[in-house]
Amino acid sequence: MNGVHDMGGMDGFGKVQPEPNEPVFHAPWEGRVLALQRAMNFCGAYNIDMSRAAQETLPPPVYLRADYYSRWAMGIERNVVARGYAGADELAAGHALRPGMPIKRKLTPADLDKVMTRGCYTRPAQAPARFKLGDRVRMKNIHPKTHTRLPRYVRGHLGEIVHVHGCHVFPDTVAVDQGENPQWLYTVRFTSEELWGPDADPTVKISVEAFEPYLDAA
């Protein structure tokens, strides 16, 4: 969806402000939100793409106004309610009012290593790759209403394949419960002028990871 989360190239947000000696968490609740998200992912309630999708559907002023882990908390609430793991009435009450749903597995201290290591998103190829290293491609000008990993700032633009990653789980279908639908994944590189016009700094090159359904031959 064309949401405010898709920030590449926007103006007006001001300077980047590094924080010296930044702590891992700025308040204890932030750590709890992170861990709740991971634990709910582990038990199979929803996955990382669904986590991102839920945050993207927050109303734009809310998304912009919320700090990072508040946004996560709102995403968790949306996912557990939408998927029936808890009722809005229970979150409002602060207590369970009904028994829980069955889950695939429950996170225990013995499983922490599994959570601390990123999963593997590679899958067997369903078809040969359409593109190879060095190919020129044009990013499709598409505007899906649901979750996508194709940022607006590259749509319609010409780039070059600089890496072929293999076949990966496709977030666009995963996020809407339509399965992994594995797709070839490429790194596509663009010149700055291609994306930002003739006044752009010619020394800058920008790349994105792009799934094959985002690409046309150029």
């Binding site: 700090d67 908390a73 602060g94 601390m116 990123r118 998103y121 977030p171």
Partner: protein, 252 residues
């Protein structure tokens, strides 16, 4: 301690201006959007707002909401608080930029390792053994006198947790996510990093499940240094690409 500390200098506040402060609970439970004005002065008087945060409504509201969420999920049988405690501790202690710094220091002293790292970073880092678990799809990109690399996630906050820990607030912030792909030299200036005008800058937007780590250039004047000494010069930001590795004077 206040909720907004996560967004230093956030101008979204100013943008919203008279829309007032939004309490997030209002639009969670029914799936619709209701904005509630609790502080019409928000965005016009930051000082006043900070005061509010410290004493009251928003922080405690966030805390209460997170507590409610954890309580409900616990009572439903999906999670238990002891595991949550241990998971938080693991994030605080097991991962962090010290892992990445050791990888970079090794690459600086061992050309064979550097080659492997640039070829397949997940495999190379896993072989080191002393770095915390590394998932798949880690990619190392090398800075040279001609090319400088910078990583970003414009869509969310993708970041190589295993080697760099959890991302800093600035990495997840709107200013970085919006500008890194369009004005990387301007972003570098915010970090007081300046590069020659003809250096090629490659910005890698992490839009899928590949994760990037930058191999910064080894600083001059470090000949004969041990890996442990060299690792001290490898800051987190140098592995994101917003700074260079520290000069040797820094540790003297």
């Amino acid at each position: 301690m206040r909720g907004e500390r996560g967004n230093p200098g956030h101008t979204a506040l100013d943008m919203l201006g008279s829309a007032g402060k939004i309490t997030s609970s209002a639009f969670l439970h029914d799936g619709t959007t209701r904005f509630q004005k609790v502080n019409p002065m928000a965005g016009q008087d930051h000082k006043h707002e900070h005061h509010d945060h410290e004493h009251g409504s928003e922080l405690s509201e966030t805390q209460l909401r997170v507590r409610a969420l954890e309580t409900v999920l616990t009572e439903k049988g999906y999670i238990d608080s002891e595991t949550i405690d241990q998971l938080i501790e693991a994030y605080e202690t097991q991962i962090g930029p010290h892992n990445g710094a050791r990888v970079i220091a090794r690459a600086w002293v061992d050309p064979g390792f550097k080659k492997d790292l640039l070829q397949d970073a997940s495999k190379a880092v896993a072989k080191l053994g002393y770095v915390s678990r590394v998932g798949d799809h880690l990619i190392a990109v090398e800075n040279t006198p001609r090319v400088h690399n910078m990583i970003v996630c414009t869509l969310c906050s993708c970041y190589p947790w295993e080697v760099l820990g959890l991302p800093p607030v600035w990495y997840k912030s709107a200013p970085y996510r919006s500008r890194a792909v369009k004005d990387p030299r301007g972003v570098l200036a915010d970090f007081e990093t300046s590069l020659p005008a003809d250096t090629e800058i490659r910005v890698w937007d992490s839009t899928a499940e590949a994760r990037y780590i930058v191999v910064p250039m080894r600083p001059e004047g470090t000949e004969g240094w041990s890996e442990e000494q060299l690792a001290q010069l490898v800051s987190r930001d140098s592995m994101i690409g917003t700074r260079l590795a520290d000069r040797p004077e820094k540790t003297q």
